[in-house]
């Protein structure tokens, strides 16, 4: 299955497909997400019909949207990671046309991370009340009482877009091609190696605390 995936999608993969335990991982740029998904679903040899899961991930530096697919032909899940979304305006084409079941999952990702899914007709908050202003699952949304993981200045009101002094950033995209992040001694992100795509903003982490 690994080879067929590489064959079909070769050019559009940021990192060659990689098997991790019982899942095959593909990292894809957001703009060519739609046709990667279409080939995965419609291609005769792949037939990934069941959208097992769709979720947003905030890696502290970039936003990701992770899709898990299942196909009767392969024993492994396929995990498609649309990486490199900017943190202040994450945009991804929606897969509602391919899987109508993704509508609520995308609504939840929007509600929790603020990821805009273009093409989803009903992108509104699913859990939070309509007049809720912030996105709770983002890394800069500090739980009110857990200051150690949040910013140093104790309670940070969620709305203020203040860059955190030492947000514990440790995105882990560990893959053999060395694209993974290099971790500092106590979990500080020192550098995001080659895998970060061109759009990803260059962020040097040693910023002054606000």
């Amino acid at each position: 299955m690994l080879t067929t995936l590489d064959g079909r999608l070769g050019d559009r993969l940021v990192v060659p497909a990689e098997a991790m335990g019982d899942t095959i991982e593909l990292v894809v740029r957001p703009r060519d997400l739609t046709d990667v998904m279409r080939t995965l679903r419609d291609d005769g040899a792949l037939r990934f019909e069941l959208l097992a899961d769709l979720c947003g991930v905030d890696t502290g530096l970039t936003m990701q949207v992770v899709y898990h697919l299942w196909s009767p032909l392969s024993a492994d899940w396929v995990r498609v990671i649309a990486d490199g979304l900017s943190r202040d305006d994450p945009r991804v084409p929606s897969v509602v046309q391919l899987w109508p079941g993704a509508e609520w999952a995308e609504r939840e990702a929007y509600d929790m991370f603020g990821i805009e899914f273009e093409g989803n007709r009903d992108l509104r908050r699913i859990y939070m009340p309509p007049d809720y202003l912030s996105f709770p699952l983002r890394k800069d949304f500090a739980l009110a009482d857990d200051a150690s993981r949040g910013t140093g200045a104790g309670i940070r009101h969620a709305e203020q877009p203040v860059a955190p002094a030492e947000v514990r950033l440790a995105p882990v995209i560990r893959s053999s091609a060395g694209a993974g992040a290099v971790l500092g001694a106590d979990g500080e992100l020192l550098a995001l190696a080659a895998s970060a795509t061109d759009e990803a903003p260059a962020v040097d982490s040693g910023e002054e605390p606000a």
Partner: protein, 407 residues
């Protein structure tokens, strides 16, 4: 920093409801539509009426509000509103260590909490590449299958209750209480067991549990057969459920449904066979599949699955090996960095978790995939055009649990 209360008044605030001079046909809630779907839903044609089904309603399996646009008795359109049970479990799991995640995910699928609490356990073990002792694996399968039978017994009861029958729910609770008392003697709790541990289970089988299990096995499933005699061929029940909420194979796959609703359409997708975990490969049991995908097929599927679970329990009890029930773990558990997608077959479908670890003792991202979340989505296309009484039958047959949906 916070906006003073007067300016931004939340719409859940009772004053908002009181001040707006609403007549019976006023739109609910009088807010500007945010998306075109909402705009299309909230403009009420002539003769149509918006009715709130829930959140406090006798048959919404938890706290779910469905805004129905009805024309007389026929449902024109519906818009489920969720979030009433939202506790932010994923955020809390990110701020507690891996052991905390077990207790936090316990109350997600409260009717079968043995499954939802296994999420962090399976994902951590997969990331740690931890080898769980075989006796612990067998005890886990035993606990899972017992919990599955109790959850199915409840499902059959709720389905009948939503259609108006009183007796099946009490037989269902009779069966469930027996099983749950037995699990209480094993795990210590009756609803939220908190029994699974990373690397094994909390305690070994004890005499009290085994004697109750032996006693129960002799008349296992007796109450459920009682329910079946009351419901299987009962014309009224059959008319109310046959050919209702028909889910085609493509629609089920496209909506990401899993578990009984998916298997009722002919797709033999059961995580225990599709992605074997624990010791399921060594047990032989078959996956009941039906093809006509309506509520009646889903109901019959649950009855078949209970028989399969009984078969599994028999095999597990015969092949139960000896040995420890907990693997050796460091006191401060630091899960190696990586990503894992661990799935297991819960009574309602594929319960999965996408756990990302950054090497610290806390999960970096703990995404919970709840089957009812995807199954409930199918209610919207299924119920359009049906009658008000049908929405109960269809929703009951999809068996949503709001704890898992709202996370």
């Amino acid at each position: 920093m916070t906006t003073p209360r007067e300016q931004v008044r939340s719409l859940d605030d009772p004053e908002v409801m009181v001040q707006t001079p609403g007549t019976i046909y006023d739109t609910i809630p009088p807010l500007t539509p945010r998306t075109e779907r909402e705009a299309e839903f909230y403009d009420v044609g002539d003769g149509e009426m918006l009715v709130n089904l829930g959140p406090q309603h006798p048959s919404t399996h938890g706290v779910l509000r469905v805004v129905l646009k009805i024309d007389g008795e026929k449902i024109v359109d519906l818009d489920p509103v969720m979030g009433y049970l939202h506790r932010g479990v994923e955020k809390i799991c990110e701020h507690g260590d891996w052991h905390h995640a077990i207790s936090n995910t316990d109350p997600l699928e409260y009717a079968a909490s043995m499954f939802s609490e296994s999420l962090p356990v399976l994902s951590a073990e997969r990331l740690l590449e931890l080898e769980v002792p075989r006796r612990a694996e067998y005890i886990r399968v035993l606990a899972w299958e017992l919990n599955r039978i109790s959850s199915h017994a409840l499902f059959i009861g709720w389905l009948a209750l939503d259609l108006g029958g009183i007796t099946p729910i009490l037989y269902g609770f009779g069966e469930r209480d027996e099983i749950v008392e037995m699990l209480a003697s094993l795990t210590g709790q009756k609803l939220l067991f908190n029994y699974m541990r990373i690397g094994g289970v909390n305690g070994d089988l004890n005499h009290d549990f085994l004697s109750r299990l032996g006693d129960w096995m002799s008349r296992a499933g007796a109450r459920i057969n009682d329910q079946a005699t009351l419901m299987n061929e009962n014309e009224i029940f059959v008319n109310r459920t046959k050919g209702l909420g028909v889910v085609s194979r493509e629609m089920a796959l496209q909506y990401g449904m899993s578990g009984p609703p998916l298997r009722a359409t002919g797709v033999p997708y059961d995580v225990r066979r599709a992605h074997p975990y624990s010791v399921y490969p060594e047990l032989e049991f078959d996956i009941p599949v039906r093809s006509d995908g309506d509520s009646y097929a889903r109901y019959l599927l649950h009855v078949d699955e209970i028989k399969q679970s009984l078969r599994i329990i028999d095999q597990v009890l015969h092949q139960m090996p000896d040995g420890p029930v907990m693997a050796k773990l460091p006191r401060l558990l630091r899960v190696p960095p990586g990503r894992a997608f661990a799935a297991l077959e819960s009574p309602r479908g594929q319960y999965a978790v996408y756990a990302v670890s950054d090497g610290s003792d806390q999960p970096f991202r703990f995404r919970i995939h709840d089957p009812s979340f995807f199954n409930l989505q199918a209610v919207v296309p299924l119920t359009r055009g049906h009658l008000l009484a049908d929405i109960m039958a269809i929703m009951a047959s999809l068996d949503p649990i709001m704890g898992g949906i709202d996370k």
